[in-house]
Structure formats: C-alpha cells, structure tokens
C-alpha cells in the first residue's frame, strides 16, 4: 500500500469514527437537564468477560479467549457489599455468567439479601449439557432469567450470535418452559431481550412483544413473560463492526438525532450500580465496557459503605446517546 493510499484509509477511518454533533454532556445542558443519581435499588454484577459465544453486537468484546473472571475473593466482597446495602434487585451478567465457577455460591448467597435476583443468559451456556444443576438451582431459588433472543429470523440471529445459536436458543427456551419458566402464575419469570441485528434502532417494545409472543407460541410452543428491546451500544465488538462496515458515523448520527429529553429521567444508571469482575464500580455496564468509573472516580466495592448517594454525578460520554434514543433504555 502506498503512502497516499494509507493516508486515504486513515482519513476515511478518522471521518468514519467522528463523534456526534454535540457531546452528550452538552446535549444535556442544552436541554437544561442534569444526569444525577436517584435512589440506587439495583446492583448489577458483571462476573467477567468469559463467554462461549463471540456475538458481533457485544459491547464488552466478551468471548472464549477472555481471562477476566470474578474470583472467589471478589465474590465474597460483592456479597458483603450487597449485605450492607440492601438492594431490591441483584442483576448478574457477564460474559456468560454461567461459566464462572463461583456463580452457584453468588446466587445462593444473594437470594437471602435481595428480593429479586436476575441472571442474564445467552441460553447456550445455560443449556450446554453440563449445567442442569444450575438450571435446577435457578428454579428452586426463583431466579429471574433474562435471555438473549435477538430475532425471530434464524439467519439474522445466527449472523449476530454465531452458527446454530438460534436453534440452540429455541431448545433452551423449551427446556426452561418445561421447568415451569415463562408460564403465568408459576413464579418463574422468563424475560427475553431482543437487539437489532445491525446498525439500526429497535422497534417499539409493545408491538414486538405481541409479535414475538404469537410467533414463538405458534411455531415452537414457547411462552415467556416480557420482551425487552434494547439498542446496540457502540462499544466493544459492535463498535468495531460499525467502523469496519462503514456504519459508525450514520449510527451515531441516528442515536444523536433520536435524543429524547423525556427518556433521561428513566435511564437505568440513575438507579443501578455496576460492579466489574475485579470489584470496581461503574454507573452502568456500558461505562464498565468503556472504562468510565462511577462518577469519574475509581472506587473498589470493598470501600463502599452502601449504595451510591442520591444526587451523585453520573459519568457520561457519547455512548450514552444509546440510552436516550427514542423510548430510551431503562
């Protein structure tokens, strides 16, 4: 490649990766808005970036090669933090949290510390043939399962999450239904998460939930409780794909132009604190992926006396436009 060609490629990349018209903080101030904490009722625990899948929309770049995984000592510190903080909800995520060797202990301990425990699952790790005991544990402790299920279209789902992932997910959902999950009145809540399979925003949740319910029931006899439509966050592997495919600039423009001032009040970072595999605190999982510490300060979970105080500053950057686009990301 000649110097001229290299310059051309660099110029293209630089233009492609340009940030939105206005930084997120400026958009907030232009709308006379501040993003501060409300009462924090949810502790999100990211147990690590190890995953059995390499999804193209992953904001954490999680995958089988990642070594970051919460060790037993940090698990104990996180449990102690939950004990002194009295959260309403514990939201366990990864990576694939099922692959963390301490996941059973973490879930068992947390059930006595908060009324609602959620486990985010890609379904394939949970149903890999080695974790029936974990499924039974989740059932017995009435843990809410929040399962990734991006699309009703097999080709599009596999394109985002890997070959055969769609069929594997269908099999896992059938198994969870057989255990009682997803049936009204069973007390076993099964929620699905759908992400767009590309550089576009998600549809409105109500219509999509109705459609997912009809199609999943008709084609596979699958039932679930709620569907959440989340926009993809321009971080990690998804950001790399956006840049490589020439979609980054337009996607950021779309997020920016879809800014909805009314969504700011309900964004999840106002009521959630996220702890990473190594015990540091963030305002959300996206700031964790972007390396933006809670309120801009590096604080370890062992130093925290309780939940972050209402009114505390929330660290923001341009990926925050994802959570304020359209109906918002709550």
């Amino acid at each position: 490649m000649s110097d001229g060609q290299i310059l051309h490629v660099r110029a293209k990349l630089s233009s492609e990766e340009s940030t939105p018209e206005a930084p997120f903080s400026l958009t907030l101030s232009r709308n006379s808005l501040k993003l501060n904490r409300d009462k924090t009722h949810t502790l999100q625990i990211n147990v690590g970036f190890l995953c059995n899948q390499i999804c193209r929309h992953c904001h954490l770049d999680a995958g089988p090669g990642r070594k970051e995984n919460m060790e037993a000592g940090i698990v104990s510190e996180v449990i102690s933090y939950a004990r002194r903080s009295q959260f309403e909800t514990i939201d366990i995520t990864g990576g694939a949290p099922e692959l963390n060797p301490n996941i059973g202990k973490l879930i068992e301990e947390m059930t006595s510390l908060a009324p609602r425990i959620m486990l985010r699952s890609n379904l394939s790790a949970l149903n890999d043939g080695k974790r029936d005991h974990l499924m039974e544990l989740l059932k017995s402790l009435r843990v809410v399962i929040v399962a990734s299920f991006p699309s009703l279209n097999e080709l599009q789902a596999d394109s985002q999450r890997g070959d055969k992932s769609f069929q594997i997910s269908i099999d896992a959902l059938k198994k969870l239904n057989a255990l009682g999950y997803g049936h009204n009145g069973s007390g076993l809540e099964l929620n699905l998460v759908s992400n767009p399979t590309g550089a576009f925003l998600p549809p409105l949740q109500v219509g999509m939930e109705k459609r997912f319910r009809q199609v999943l029931k008709k084609k596979w006899g699958i039932v679930f409780n709620n569907l959440f439509n989340f926009a993809n966050v321009p971080l990690g592997r998804f950001r790399q794909w956006l840049v490589k495919s020439g979609n980054f600039r337009k996607y950021m423009e779309k997020l920016y132009s879809s800014f909805n001032p009314c969504s700011v009040d309900g964004v999840m970072c106002r009521t959630l604190v996220s702890v990473s595999w190594d015990g540091y605190l963030y305002d959300c999982d996206f700031n964790l992926a972007g390396g933006l510490f809670m309120g801009g300060r590096k604080i370890h979970v062992s130093e925290m006396p309780g939940p972050p105080e209402p009114g505390n500053h929330i660290a923001t950057t341009d990926h925050c436009y994802t959570c304020t686009a359209g109906a918002g990301f709550t």
Binding site: S151, L155, Q156, F200
Partner: protein
Amino acid sequence: METYYKPEDLPKFEEIGKDAPELAKKFFDYYGAVFAEGELTEREKSLIALAVAHTVQCPYCIDAYTQACLEKGSSLAEMTEAIHIVTAIRGGASLVHGVQMRNIAEKLSM
C-alpha cells in the same frame, strides 16, 4: 462517480417545500397521517411501502423503507417475501396481457 441519485439528497426532501410551502405542508401532513398506526400497524405499512418502492424503483424510497422495515421489527425474510409479491404482480401484469395478445392474434388468424 457523479450520479443523479445521491444518498445525501434524501434528508433534503423537505426543501421541496421552499417554493410551494402550502402544497408541501398538505403533502407531508398527509404522508405522516398515512404512515401512522391505524387498522394496519406501522410495521405492516412499512412493508407495503418497501414493496411499492421497488415497484416505482425509487432508490430514495428503497433506502428509507429498508431502514424503516428493520427498525419496525421486520425480518429480512419478510422483506424479501414482500419484494417477491412485487415481482409476481409485475410479472403477472405482463403475462395476463398475453390474453389480449391472444385475442388479437386469434381475430387476425385463420
């Protein structure tokens, strides 16, 4: 390469109202009302629009309604089926005129 159709022209659509604002307002109000949720959902309307866009072969409309269909939750399989409906109707419209051809040919033939 210079071309009559430029993607950056699509967002300029509203500029068409500069020299005939009242007509443009009537058109855009009507356009907005047509695509609002009614007896048909916004998703269904976008699929119809995508099919019509291919019928009138408008690159702007194909661009806009491909994105709209995806953002309203339609799958690529549904969108592809919609284009096949266009193709069937367009092909069928040609083929059914073969009846006229046959009528005329029969009248002229011994």
